[in-house]
């Protein structure tokens, strides 16, 4: 039973983690990306359609990521070039994306809500299925897919990329002191556009994972607020890769345990709200701590 929860938690963590990676890089560059949900949804939809048409999961994931990058870039442009408010533009994009997908789905497939297509190719498993026999972690290892591996590899690489590379420095400088970046001859707007496109790329991968890991269908409600859980995670992890990943894993565990706690008589809705409550508590605690240290 513990092995099963572990395996489920690892897989449920992946979409949250992928989206949170995008969101944390974006926030390091000074933009709170509230539209991760929109790009996840678009990513999931594109992944399902392309997987069915092309019969290739690689193409499906790539197409989803490109779609997410494009939308992220456009969102970035509206913020940096047209001066749109970050929060409102993001919320607007969430509404727009849901509407546009519903519209396209109704027109092209005549279906509302759920899209089920033939010949879906799902994400493969990375390791040979023999590992399943290992105690405790066997199930989790056997369930690993390329996107999960990519997500954790990115988490491992991010501290170096953000901390020790030129691009990482530009990114953090843009978020912390845009005038300084401008003074040394770089363009903060360009860096923010790139960061927002990057967030779109990863959020769309998150959507592709949701759609292509096991079920291979698209549903309008399938992201179920995970874009906001991801937001909660990088606030929780204070934009640092490993703490953010730890928060994602925690939320993934909660998600996996939710079904089991239900049998213990705890209402599922309230457990689903736990990540949000925790973020609120952590935000308050960290503010109290920073105010104390200021005094």
């Amino acid at each position: 039973m513990i092995a099963q929860i572990l395996a489920a938690a690892v897989i449920l963590t992946t979409p949250i983690l992928l989206a949170a990676i995008g969101g944390l890089v974006n926030r390091q560059a000074g933009i709170v990306n509230i539209a991760l949900e929109a790009k996840m949804l678009v990513g999931a939809y594109v992944a399902v359609v392309v997987s069915s048409v092309s019969g290739s999961w690689e193409l499906a994931v790539l197409a989803a990521a490109l779609a997410g990058t494009l939308i992220g870039w456009l969102l970035g442009l509206s913020i940096t070039r047209l001066g749109a408010n970050v929060i409102i533009a993001g919320l607007g994009l969430n509404v727009l994306a849901a509407g546009a997908l519903g519209f396209v789905m109704a027109i092209t497939y005549g279906s509302s809500g759920t899209l089920r297509l033939p010949d879906m190719v799902l994400l493969p498993r990375v390791l040979p299925q023999g590992v399943e026999g290992l105690p405790l972690v066997g199930l989790a290892l056997a369930g690993l897919d390329p996107l999960t591996v990519l997500a954790w590899a990115t988490v491992a690489a991010l501290p170096f990329l953000l901390g020790s590379t030129r691009i990482g420095l530009w990114l953090r400088a843009t978020g912390n002191a845009a005038p300084v970046v401008r003074a040394v001859g770089l363009r903060p707007a360009l860096i923010q556009d790139a960061a927002t496109a990057f967030a779109g790329f990863f959020a769309a991968l998150a959507g592709a994972h949701l759609a292509l890991y096991s079920i291979g269908i698209f549903n309008e409600g399938m992201t179920a607020g995970r874009g906001f859980i991801a937001l909660a995670a990088f606030y929780f992890g204070r934009n640092l890769p490993w703490p953010t990943a730890a928060a994602c894993l925690l939320f993934g565990f909660l998600d996996a345990a939710q079904i089991r706690m239900q049998t213990l008589g705890l209402p599922p809705g309230l457990i689903g709200a736990l990540p949000y409550v925790m973020v609120l508590v952590i935000l308050v605690l960290s503010q109290i701590r920073s105010q104390r240290s200021q005094r």
Binding site: R27, I88, L91, L96, A232, Y235, G269, L270, A273
Partner: protein, 349 residues
């Protein structure tokens, strides 16, 4: 003086028209792409939403919750408080009003409605007091806190509706109906337009008076325009923030009550069709001004009520309304040329 006034109105008019025009242009392209005639469709929307007394009534009925959520949003936005938690307060207020409406003794008679409204307002205010206090005292980012509180409100209300407040007769996800005495009266039966619409207008009028003619309202605008200036002239910024949040909660709670007591007569799953977010679009479109918000609420009310009919009689999916709403939100805060549209961008780190 008149020149400045005229320019102000012209700018407001452009601020309202531009997002709408862009949204209509995009939907026209979308409609052309699926082989529908945009002119016919827009004509149909117009006649379906304003073509007869009954249709006007259903448009105004759909606009009612938006009046409340728009004012609730505007109260905060004009003070520079980025409250996106109106949706949550709407849910909490709505459930509080409905629960009061069926559990208080029915023989309270006429006193039942004001009681329920007061309870809803109190719950709404309490709900948004928390992020207000956290922002004012601890500088906890209000966007994140109110966003999180929306999800928490949805979880709490869904759990209660499926738990202790579940109706024994009707099965899943609904409370029992409120007492007949607690219902807001229908203005033109059989249309669903109810006296909640009048309460909404009263709230809008009160907002107009508050923003212009009360010290607290004027101070709110100062805090929104320039916090440092407000502090220098002796305005308490924390108090202004908390006041804005409390008022927002009161209005959002009343909106939930109007929806519960006037429209649905009970609380059910899907109680709010994203009214908090549409209200945000309305507030942005109307640039926090009473007249603009009234027009915006009627516009979105018309889209919602006509959209349902259009879907029945043609192949145009209802999702078109969401596309329009999203575009309106984005373009209401976009800055084009010399016109500054919407509120200042706020980049956070």
């Amino acid at each position: 003086m008149t020149g400045a006034l005229l320019r102000d109105w012209a700018e407001r008019g452009t601020g309202f028209a531009l997002p709408v025009v862009v949204a209509l242009a995009v939907s026209a392209v979308v409609l052309l792409a699926i082989g529908e005639n945009p002119v016919t469709t827009f004509g149909l929307i117009l006649s379906e939403s304003f073509g007869s007394a009954r249709r006007i009534a259903s448009t105004l009925s759909a606009a009612t919750p938006l009046l409340f959520t728009a004012v609730a949003t505007a109260v905060c936005f004009r003070a520079g408080v980025f409250n996106v938690g109106v949706e949550g307060a709407f849910l909490i207020g709505g459930l509080a009003a409905v629960v009061a409406g069926f559990s208080l003794p029915a023989d309270l008679g006429w006193a039942l409605v004001p009681l329920c409204l007061t309870i809803a307002a109190a719950f709404g205010a309490a709900w948004l007091w928390l992020p207000g206090w956290l922002l004012a005292r601890l500088e906890v980012d209000e966007v994140v806190s109110t966003l999180m509180l929306n999800f928490i409100a949805a979880a709490i209300t869904a759990t209660l509706v499926n738990g202790i407040f579940l109706s024994r007769q009707s099965g899943n996800n609904v409370t029992p109906p409120v007492h007949a005495a607690a219902e807001l009266s229908r203005l033109m039966p059989p249309a669903t337009l109810h006296s909640g619409f009048l309460i909404g207008l009263a709230v809008l009028a009160a907002y107009a008076v508050w923003t212009r003619h009360t010290p607290a309202g004027v101070e709110g605008a100062w805090v929104g325009l320039n916090r440092r200036f407000a502090r220098v002239v002796g305005v308490s910024v924390p108090r202004t923030i908390i006041t804005a949040m409390l008022l927002s909660g009161v209005v959002a709670g009343l909106g939930g009550a109007a929806q519960g007591l006037g429209q649905l007569h009970r609380f059910s799953d899907g109680f709010s069709a994203g009214y908090g977010f549409t209200g945000m679009a309305v507030a942005l479109l109307g640039r926090n001004r009473p007249v603009g918000m009234l027009l915006g609420a009627v516009l979105f009310g018309a889209l919602a009520s006509a959209g349902t009919t259009i879907q029945l009689f043609s192949d145009i999916p209802l999702d078109l309304v969401n596309i329009i709403q999203g575009i309106v939100m984005i373009f209401a805060v976009v800055e084009l040329g010399r016109f500054r549209l919407g509120i200042k961008p706020k980049v956070q780190g």
